[in-house]
Subunit: 552 residues, 2 copies
């Protein structure tokens, strides 16, 4: 006979899943562990705990209430990490401002998020000054300053960060509240329209931290443990640096925040601080691996997750040649972000290098707790045969509920109980996802889906190619046909010959790597490729730019 | 200005934290990984997924509804693992019957838990037969049988497990429901009164799995990763084998279930299956390390968590001598159970063996997410100085809400928002807890707390001592004075001399390890020590037995 099964008054006993619970243990257990900020500052986890308390007290003193929004404009810093904790622990919302947006877009996000306080690095004062008259009223500004000199500004600065902390109480008695309380907001920029705000609750950030931590614990390869040294190289304003600073803190590892990304300084930090774990986008890794001082830097203990764009095989090869434990990861701003990681399974560690590279460059295995499917338009699941594409849809305990104050786009995001990523992928028998295209960039020719990403990856292996993009153009006979845009390497600008390149591509057909119908009809040599504000190829713009030319 | 912060209709988007979500990824990603059952059976994760579906269908066919209770009486087996998933995934409650209880106690728990179906191993049929007339009506029995022959029994057997599975549908479309739905119930036996039922929800088991998984990911030492091979040696009926089978499944590791614990067979399994990760109580480890065939077994890749009782230093030394990565863990039935693990911090791995042993034998560091405090009676927190004792109280996302249908004891368990463990401990500057006593067994002499556990640990280092217990007896002058009960080793029975033993103890005073006032007033040589049904020292019985003798 059923007895009462459900505790209908959840759950004084369980305790809500709050961000404050991520901070307690590491501060107590690793008080002397270091947090390094570039060349400026070294502090400890004990300091972190104390400064988070002071920051929260200080913000409260400035009038910040639960439900208010506190925005940050800073390079990656220990201050940013402190905000990751203090602002949500107050019950307020942390808005991480994308400093790469235009001043107009930044203005839009500040007003849309209804920021109450803005913490701003001296370097970004000019941006705020340029838009100050149009920022909705009653903002307070707190200055983040490395130089230690009060800058001249037309903004009315309420306080300086270190002064605010020094004058505030290091209390550590943060309140309980609903785990569904919003903790963070930031803006994602697609290729169209205004920036869209995504948001995450305490529960979602806690579950993402736990889920990613468990995924990174899986094997020796690509692992993240207490004895690692962590340097994030994706910005803290963008999906909380993929949420990894929270994971790093829970693990109690030494953390290194680089400030602004300067390749030489990043390499120096990796060497000096003995960094073993990072994440970055392909373009940054490319910059590091081609920088002159890389030859003096030992990267053989460095593990790095590559995300933001597909990991080109040729880049992975270059990294492996320096001993880097490189592997891809995948997610969206809307998914907090991590959904998959391209870890090798234990038995694959015995495979040869080339076969391992196939895995490392896949999109990855879904992190446990992520219910990831590839489906057709009717939400039927596609087979896991490594060939049949479908749209990637997901459920997980850490997906945004939608776009802030934008019910229309939110509804498009969630359909049939799943978040629709807009990405097309295949899943192989081992369970690895490989993204083949963005849904809106997909190319269908002669009834077959062509993977523009796979073709681009292949083309990047050509010795004279720096960048490449494959787009589809309308074709009366085949529906669509692929066209490739190529940016030659600087030293090949003069010598790049379209004919040689086409012969080279045909060589892959002869080898069986490429289908004959996948050979692009046209190769256009261009100076550069249009990109979005976060550096992704903007194929919508390319199609518009080249449509006329190509339809001739 | 605050906008609406809390999603008041939680949380179609988050998805409830359900046990089914622990199973999906590993079955998909590690379909060929093995699950071994003693010498009988080898199956795969693919089989596990399919059999869980069949078991759920089969139980539904027997009439099991959401909210019903399904009980299991089995040795540790692949079947038990299947029940860990299938029963809660149906929305039913899994009651894991403690097969070490007396038939009368088992009867009590079956009726108290209101079991609807009982899955019973052939070996336990006689117990059920002896109480069948007093089991509340409308039970169905399913037979678990390794011999493959239908046994003769007076019970009305509804089906045999394998036949039930074979005739049922391997569906894998389990429903969503509230994460606060009760998933498991089992009974804990204190030293007094009737067994008490504790219970855990889906959310609690998921959070325990995630929390423990993250704790075990922390360092190379004492770690649990995808390439480990797992053999549990604490019973699956007791707090779900410490919840580690759920962790093992999420990690996708090879799992080995031993059936009944026979030292020789356990050692053979460790060797044959290349086991690298286990958990057990000190008594079992002692049996393994003193078994003749241990010399032929390589234990140098074996990691083992010791719990259930303090880890004696002398036992830890013996294990270390064989290369075992041994460390203590701590928790209660009421806490799901794991609260702390005595991992070494990365910088301690450079310490010498003796200093490492100090850490390995502590009670441990709280797992992240566990808010563990030592407090006085007014709930004031005691300093972390390694000396000042307090009662251990905890909050965590995985603590039982109380005892089943027992509001009075439940209220005693939860006070001031914390679960009271009834254990006394100290916390050192590094954050490690060391349990010094049970609250009810604590000894206060001359105004000072004396740790009976620390004294027992010391006494066990005497070469002629097999077992020891320190208890307090009333004393007019000092309040209480310690008395030690000693069971000599078999080969020292004749030669054990109380006087020599006392001199040996005084030697520790001279060395500064022991305070003079902590030397017991009396040493009683006894044949055996009274224990509870789960093998813990029963000091209440000792005090009663020896009170008269000792007060003379």
């Amino acid at each position: 006979m059923p007895t009462t099964l459900i505790d209908r008054t959840p759950s004084a006993y369980d305790g809500p899943l709050l961000i404050k619970n991520l901070l307690r243990s590491p501060v107590r257990q690793f008080p002397n562990q270091e947090i390094v900020y570039g060349d400026f500052k070294r502090q400890t986890y004990r300091d972190l705990g104390e400064r988070v308390g002071r920051l929260a007290s200080g913000l409260a003193r400035l009038g910040v209430q639960p439900g208010d929004t506190v925005a940050v404009m800073d390079w990656d810093s220990h201050r940013y990490l402190e905000c990751f904790f203090a602002v949500p622990m107050l019950g307020a919302v942390l808005h991480t401002i994308n400093i790469r947006l235009s001043a107009e877009q930044i203005l839009y996000t500040i007003n849309h998020a209804e920021d109450d306080v803005i913490l701003v690095n001296t370097e970004f004062l000019p941006i705020l000054e340029s838009i100050r008259d149009r920022i909705d009223p009653v903002k307070q500004f707190v200055l983040l300053d490395d130089a230690g000199q009060a800058p001249t500004t037309t903004l009315d600065i309420a306080d300086e960060y270190e002064a605010l902390l020094a004058a505030s109480d290091p209390h550590d008695d943060f309140p309980d509240f609903s785990e569904h309380t919003r903790a963070t907001t930031f803006y994602t920029t697609g290729t169209t329209g205004l920036p869209k705000g995504v948001y995450f609750s305490h529960r979602q950030l806690v579950m993402h931290t736990l889920g990613v931590l468990s995924a990174l614990a899986k094997t020796g390869q690509g692992s993240f443990h207490g004895d690692d040294v962590y340097l994030p190289i994706t910005p803290m304003f963008h999906v909380h640096a993929w949420g990894v600073p929270y994971v790093a803190t829970v693990l109690g590892v030494k953390q290194v925040y680089p400030g602004r990304y300067v390749p030489e300084r990043l390499l120096a930090l990796i060497a000096r601080e003995k960094v073993t774990f990072s994440h970055c986008v392909p373009a940054i890794l490319q910059m590091l691996l081609t920088h002159p001082s890389v030859d003096q830097t030992d990267l053989s203990r460095w593990k790095v997750i590559i995300g933001g764009a597909a990991l080109p095989r040729v880049l992975a090869q270059q990294a492996r040649a320096r001993g880097v434990d490189i592997f891809a990861g995948y997610g969206l701003s809307e998914t907090c972000p991590i959904l998959t990681l391209a870890h090798l399974k234990p038995h694959m560690l015995a495979w040869d290098e080339e076969r391992q590279l196939d895995i490392r460059c896949k999109t990855g295995l879904p992190v446990a707790w992520v219910d990831l499917r590839i489906v057709d338009e009717a939400m039927n699941e596609m087979p896991h045969d490594g060939k049949t594409p479908g749209e990637v849809v997901v459920r997980a305990p850490w997906l945004t509920q939608g776009y802030l104050k934008d019910p229309e786009n939110s509804e498009r995001l969630w359909r049939g109980g799943y978040l629709h990523t807009g990405d097309i992928g295949v899943i192989d028998e081992e369970g690895y996802l490989k993204i083949t295209d963005r849904l809106k960039d997909a190319i269908k020719t002669g009834g077959e889906w062509l993977s523009s990403l796979a073709l681009e990856d292949l083309i990047l292996q050509h010795p004279a190619v720096a960048e490449a993009a494959v787009i589809g153009i309308p074709d009366q006979k085949w529906g669509e046909r692929p066209v490739v845009l190529v940016v030659p390497k600087r030293d090949s600008l003069e010598s790049f010959a379209e004919r040689d390149f086409c012969d080279w591509l045909k060589g892959w057909v002869d080898q069986g790597t490429l289908s004959k119908w996948a050979i692009p009809d046209r190769v256009l040599v261009v100076d550069s490729l249009p990109k979005t504000s976060v550096g992704k190829l903007d194929k919508k713009v390319m199609r518009a730019q080249y449509q006329e030319l190509l339809s001739r």
